[in-house]
Symmetry: C2
Subunit: 290 residues, 2 copies
């Protein structure tokens, strides 16, 4: 398709934005270059002209919360999200309360960092009972959402790929995330759409449209064929089979114009001999393939 | 839950069948003990008192079609299904016609074997275009279904786990399989429900109920945690996290009373030093966990 060709999104809007994405919206989710400390990642973003970074709590803890906040602020970077809260289901009420307390701490960290968004990876069932675990996720979000709203932090429910249903998230489709989010005001609870987690879904375009202004974040990587490692097998955009440009078109047609985080869990990317070369490649692929 | 406890299925029926399943419904899908030839698998089923076997085309070809038919008939076994047709999407019309021709041959093989069901693994997109590939699946089924019906063979659309969307099937949810099947008479095109492929789906119970008499087959194995290999990482029933008894309850409440195929892709199971010991274990776990 020619870059200037118009098409129609699921919502019936004409899409005209299928050219390269706005470079100013590119965000580096720091898991992508996991060997970098927070300081190194911030410096890397600055060197490559990125305006956004997505932070992880463990890296923030390593660098210190206040130091981290200062580093990103001094670099003039926006924090597109903090990863991650969630993991609500647990076997006992005591443990579930502990998880909620941890989510409150994550909210406070997000607020300190100036991250308007806390990504929720909702967690697996404590036993085999998916329905009970999904209830517990809803209960956890109901407690944390007003607390987060008061702190100026929006919660973003991220549906994970169904292959993570056993060990990471009982929330596995965008439809399910939308249903959960819709119980709350849109400015308190949104959804985070990661192309890698949702690309396979026959309902994805319809659910992107349904999410609308609840779309709180958009993540990209690629699905490699053959697929290898479930957790660490994500590809750089353009190396796999996801129709990333079309998907971004849908997300934009639904109204989202915020940062686009590159979040690649991949051992080879982590182990790149020169992270700067990898970041340059990521930036180029963002423009080419996303 | 006590074995005699009653519960209510998604369809509102009271379920009372949560005790052990009928041993007479157990079927060995021969991929589970893949080192066995067709003759060895037939003999194994006979030794262990199984009444059903699920066959694979490559094994049938190895043994010869007529010989295979005679072997299962002489052993008094029913053929619960033939695996597999499908793989409809392709880059060119010529190649798509070749795929359809192959499906016609699969139908003829199923008819010769006395298999009332041909399982369809629908295939991946030839390029990245999922929507086009899904159209091609529908077109392929539309051509093959009447041909199969005339041969007394029902087609069973098997939705695969979304982690196979890139390389094996663009049909990845039971909702999608139901929608596709509903374009045809129920006795011509049904759905095959494999617990491993659908257990994660928040809509699974509703879609099982919707499938109703279109349920043409039910497959079981288990999802291990941690999950390892995407293709070869299935567990023996009871070793993983799928709520297999509840799921069988839903399938039965929806009206299905046919064979239950044990289909385990697992290198350790294949390499079991004594396949008879493994088959005995599978039989025991079927009764305990399914």
């Amino acid at each position: 398709m020619r870059p200037d060709a118009a098409r129609t999104g699921a919502c019936g809007h004409r899409l005209t934005a299928l050219g390269a994405p706005d470079p100013g919206r590119l965000s580096l989710n720091q898991i992508t270059l996991n060997r970098w400390t927070l300081r190194e990642a911030v410096d890397g973003c600055a060197r490559h002209g990125l305006r956004w970074i997505g932070l992880w709590r463990d890296k923030v803890a390593d660098a210190g919360l206040e130091s981290s906040a200062r580093l990103v602020r001094d670099a003039g970077l926006g924090v597109s999200s903090l990863c991650r809260g969630g993991f609500f289901p647990a076997a006992t009420a005591v443990e579930r309360r502990a998880r909620i307390d941890d989510n409150r701490r994550a909210v406070e960290e997000a607020a300190t960092l100036g991250a308007g968004l806390l990504v929720l990876v909702c967690g697996p069932a404590a036993d085999r009972d998916l329905a009970a675990a999904r209830e517990q996720v809803g209960e956890g979000i109901a407690v944390v959402a007003p607390y987060a709203a008061a702190a100026g932090v929006r919660l973003g429910i991220e549906p994970l790929h169904p292959m993570f249903a056993g060990d990471r998230s009982v929330v596995v489709t965008l439809a399910q995330a939308n249903r959960m989010a819709e119980r709350f005001p849109a400015d308190q609870v949104g959804v985070v759409i990661d192309a890698y987690h949702v690309w396979w879904d026959p309902e994805v375009n319809a659910e992107i449209h349904r999410a609308g202004r609840r779309i709180a974040g958009y993540h990209v990587s690629d699905w490699l064929v053959p697929a290898s490692d479930m957790l660490m097998g994500r590809g750089v955009m353009g190396d796999g089979v996801i129709q990333l440009r079309e998907l971004r078109g849908e997300v934009e047609a639904a109204g989202y114009r915020g940062p686009v985080e590159v979040e690649i869990f991949n051992r080879q990317v982590w182990d790149a001999p020169d992270p700067d070369v990898m970041l340059e490649r990521i930036r180029a692929r963002y423009l080419e393939a996303v």
